[in-house]
């Protein structure tokens, strides 16, 4: 490692001393790109190797640095000046079906210092668009703005978008009616809708599914791991739910209506009951939203902080907002879990006197009003839910049983042997799954494009990445088909937009279509921006000096 760096430095020195043309800037330092280990993230690792290979062809000296997630996130998040480029990913979640979270939080200048805009992208023009789409309640006009945001990002390339991966799930088609499986756009078939509608064909009526990671908590006031959300989305109702098409639908609400710029009126569904038999009241709903901002549930606070007040009139609940918010239904009404006041009020009161907050409170038996009731939780082994037959959208299955299986190979083996009948998580090679299904005959595999995405984040604070032309060139240097084929084995869609094609309403197709890639394209962009090649080493334009020391 040392000797390699030394060699690089001395070659660079040699070049500077011998043949530097009078007008060219300094040679660009060795740039470093971070990735997680191959064992943990094979596709990411492979992508970065391929990208580094292409960048080197432009005359850059590229060093791939492998770090485990804890260290990588520590550097990227807490040492925002200390890195050049890093592989990163966003995962799909139902509430991300509304583009606001990504459009705003990832790129708005207000989140650059401590929030998710860790790349330090600052563009007043973009800020204006991001703010405008947030407030625009008219859907068609908002779509325009979201399209515009995607175009600005395509022009500036603050990140190098790589792909939207395809997720593969499978189920036993001799147990479940394939027609009853719901494919939610951008999420895949593992979703709440599927778990409600899966119809048994024979005697087996339990959905038995797997997850690689442990369940952390079943707590309606704590946003914990991804797996946890599968559970609490079934146990708790929300006023709205994101539908299979990615758009919000009334759920525990009979209707949701915008009655003004800043007012939304919700009519609560009649006859709903908590799992302990008590009726669900508008007061419970009000309590649920107030608890989110009570200081005892900090992770939910951002989703309810825009609410000025909540008024109750019979079964009508009116939300008055501080600011107009287009994504309110998706990001608040479809996000906040409805919790029983008679259970949680004493708990919250007690917690207010203590240091811990509600995130640390695990109920023995979580009480919700959702389509499944909590039965049993065996630490790190399984969670059993049973169908709530009184629910307005009662599941067709009897039970929902989540098994924790950290070994990928075992998960596939269990699916084939019938120990599980719904493969809800598969960290392995999708082709293996498809082959296994073809061989087995009882299995059906469904692969869908995710709304999540993989990308290379550029540190927009550090030269040369502060130059949009440089970023554009680096991004253009890699044909995304290479990433799709050689890193994702075909199970991904090439990307140039933060909005996945799975979200067809918001996705700006032109941005992806018009994106030209290839080594020549990149070289041309660099040349036009004044970068020069000296020998095989790329130099800054004009008389720009290298301000960052070789690391």
């Amino acid at each position: 490692m040392m000797s390699f760096r030394k060699a690089v430095t001395s070659t660079a020195l040699l070049l500077v001393l011998s043949a530097a043309p009078a007008l060219a800037g300094d040679p660009i330092r060795t740039i470093e790109i971070l990735t997680r280990p191959q064992a943990a993230q094979p596709q990411e690792f492979q992508s970065v190797q391929l990208i580094a290979q292409e960048w080197r062809k432009l005359g850059l000296d590229v060093n791939v640095k492998v770090m485990p997630w804890e260290q990588m996130s520590d550097v990227v998040w807490y040492q925002r000046d200390a890195w050049d480029a890093t592989a990163w990913q966003m995962v799909g979640r139902p509430e991300r079906s509304d583009p606001d979270e990504i459009v705003y939080n990832l790129f708005h200048s207000s989140t650059a210092e401590k929030g998710y805009n860790f790349i330090g992208y600052v563009s007043p023009e973009y800020d204006a668009v991001a703010e405008a789409q947030r407030k625009e309640v008219d859907e068609a006009k908002r779509k325009e703005l979201v399209f515009q945001a995607q175009e600005l990002l395509a022009k500036d390339q603050p990140n190098m978008m790589l792909v939207h991966p395809k997720q593969s799930f499978a189920f036993d088609k001799t147990v479940w009616d394939p027609a009853s499986v719901v494919n939610q756009s951008g999420i895949g078939i593992r979703n709440t809708w599927t778990f409600l509608s899966l119809t048994p064909l024979g005697e087996k009526k339990d959905i038995v599914l797997n997850s690689a990671d442990n369940v952390q908590a079943i707590n309606p006031l704590y946003i914990s791991g991804g797996v946890d959300s599968w559970v609490f989305e079934l146990v708790y109702d929300r006023l709205a739910r994101v539908g299979p098409d990615g758009l919000p639908k009334p759920w525990a609400a009979e209707s949701i209506e915008w009655t003004g710029d800043k007012t939304v009126t919700v009519k609560l569904r009649e006859g709903m009951k908590w799992h302990d038999g008590q009726p669900v009241t508008p007061e419970d709903v009000k309590f649920s939203f107030e608890t989110a901002v009570s200081g005892e549930a900090p992770m939910y606070a951002p989703f309810a902080s825009n609410i000025e007040k909540i008024d109750i009139d019979g079964s009508n609940i009116t939300f008055t907002l501080k600011e107009p918010s287009a994504s309110f239904v998706t990001s608040s009404l479809a996000k906040i879990n409805l919790i029983p006041r008679h259970v949680w009020e004493p708990i919250i009161e007690d917690l207010k006197t203590k240091e811990e907050n509600a995130e640390s409170h695990q109920e023995q038996t979580p009480i919700g009003s959702g389509p499944y009731k909590f039965e049993r939780w065996l630490t790190n082994e399984e969670i059993v839910l049973s169908a709530n037959k009184e629910h307005f959208n009662a599941p067709k299955a009897d039970r929902w049983i989540l098994r924790i299986v950290p070994n990928v190979e075992a998960a596939l083996g269990m699916l084939r042997s019938g120990e599980i009948n719904f493969l809800a998580e598969f960290g392995g090679d999708p082709q293996v799954l498809i082959d296994a299904a073809a061989q087995d005959g009882d299995l059906e595999v469904v692969s869908t494009v995710e709304m999540g995405f993989r990308y290379i984040a550029f540190n927009n604070r550090r030269p040369p990445f502060n130059d949009p032309a440089f970023r554009r060139a680096l991004s253009a240097a890699v044909d995304r088909r290479l990433i799709v084929k050689a890193a994702f084995r075909g199970f991904a869609e090439p990307s140039n937009s933060i909005v996945s094609p799975a979200l067809s309403f918001w996705h700006n197709e032109a941005v992806v279509k018009n994106f030209e890639t290839g080594g020549e394209v990149a070289a041309k962009i660099l040349e036009e921006a004044g970068y020069t090649l000296d020998g095989d080493r790329l130099h800054y334009p004009g008389d720009q000096k290298e301000t960052l020391a070789q690391q």
Partner: protein
């Protein structure tokens, strides 16, 4: 008096070792790079949330203060709260401990039962062709990576032959109403079989070789020769006299093996989706969940230290030549 003094010095020693392990643990987790808050990075993660989290877990205090608090809590049996699960660490690891102990003891009992019998047999058949083949095989089993062996057994007995389930401790959704109900059910035994077998194959080598060499030792001693001269059958000599005397040191090694096995479980628990302490430790470490990782580590360390102590005591009890020097 001498006994009291010895016991006192033993206790002091134990306390010293415990304190040192606890301190090493604390420093190891606090001085390593990586921020535990990194686990919560999310587009909606705000600066206020970060600070609140740091304060909640006491991470905003200076290191020495954290250490003092940590020691104080430990003395009260308080292991802190898990970052990830937001629940008391003690509760969590104690819930997982029985699974790990059952797996450990089952596999060791199988390993020792087999190892002792086979070891005695091989000593008896010293120099035979069986012995010539068996010893290298035994050595080879100890050279296999446990997870590799586990994966191969999984492929053969579960995926291919379908004799045993592939992971967990019971079939999906089954309820045995409590501790004993589960651990005595045939269902549980079927799930236990493969992981226990994997560990047993790995650990039978030690008792086997130990038993064999002890037997060879004992068989040379006078009383065995005497018995032989008395005209007792070889079988009686081997079983009644030699084996009984050779057995004691082997049983001492059982205590140490428990400690070792507990560490080795980490890998096998991952292969067979066994909800145990080792898997939790690995997960906690990779999620930078310091309190949980520390707690799990500490619990394993305490068992190891206790088992070492038991082995020591047994040893000095069985072999009066070992003094307290």
């Amino acid at each position: 008096m001498a006994h009291l003094k010895a016991a006192l010095s033993r206790t002091l020693q134990l306390a010293l070792v415990l304190w040192a392990v606890v301190t090493i643990l604390f420093l190891m987790f606090r001085l390593m790079p990586g921020n535990p808050m990194a686990a919560y990075i999310d587009p909606t993660f705000t600066a206020e949330q970060q600070e609140a989290l740091m304060a909640q877990f006491g991470l905003d205090k200076p290191l020495w203060e954290q250490y003092v608090i940590y020691l104080g809590n430990l003395l009260q049996g308080e292991l802190g709260q898990s970052f990830r699960y937001r629940e008391p660490v003690a509760e969590r690891i104690l819930a997982l401990l029985p699974n790990t102990l059952i797996l450990t003891f089952t596999s060791l009992i199988i390993a020792y039962a087999f190892g002792i019998l086979a070891g005695a047999y091989l000593a008896w058949r010293r120099g035979s062709a069986v012995e010539k083949v068996a010893i290298p095989i035994v050595l080879t089993t100890r050279a296999m990576p446990e997870f590799w062996l586990g994966m191969v057994l999984l492929a053969i007995f579960s995926f291919w032959l379908g004799w045993f389930p592939a992971g967990g401790t019971r079939s999906a959704g089954s309820d045995y109403g409590g501790f004993w109900g589960l651990y005595t059910s045939p269902d549980f035994l079927a799930y236990l079989a493969l992981p226990a077998l994997t560990l047993a194959i790995y650990s039978q080598g030690l008792p086997l070789l130990l038993m064999r060499s002890n037997m060879l030792d004992v068989m040379k001693e006078d009383f065995v020769t005497m018995a032989r001269i008395k005209g007792l059958s070889t079988w009686t000599v081997v079983v009644r006299h030699a084996a009984r005397n050779a057995l004691l040191p082997v049983m001492t090694s059982f205590a140490i093996a428990v400690g070792y096995q507990l560490q080795g479980n980490v890998v096998v628990e991952t292969v067979f989706s066994w909800p145990g302490l080792g898997r939790e430790l690995v997960r906690a470490v990779s999620a930078s969940d310091y309190p949980l990782a520390q707690g799990a580590f500490l619990l394993i360390a305490v068992v190891v230290i206790l088992m070492n102590l038991i082995a020591d005591l047994l040893y000095s009890l069985l072999d009066p030549r070992v003094s307290h020097a």
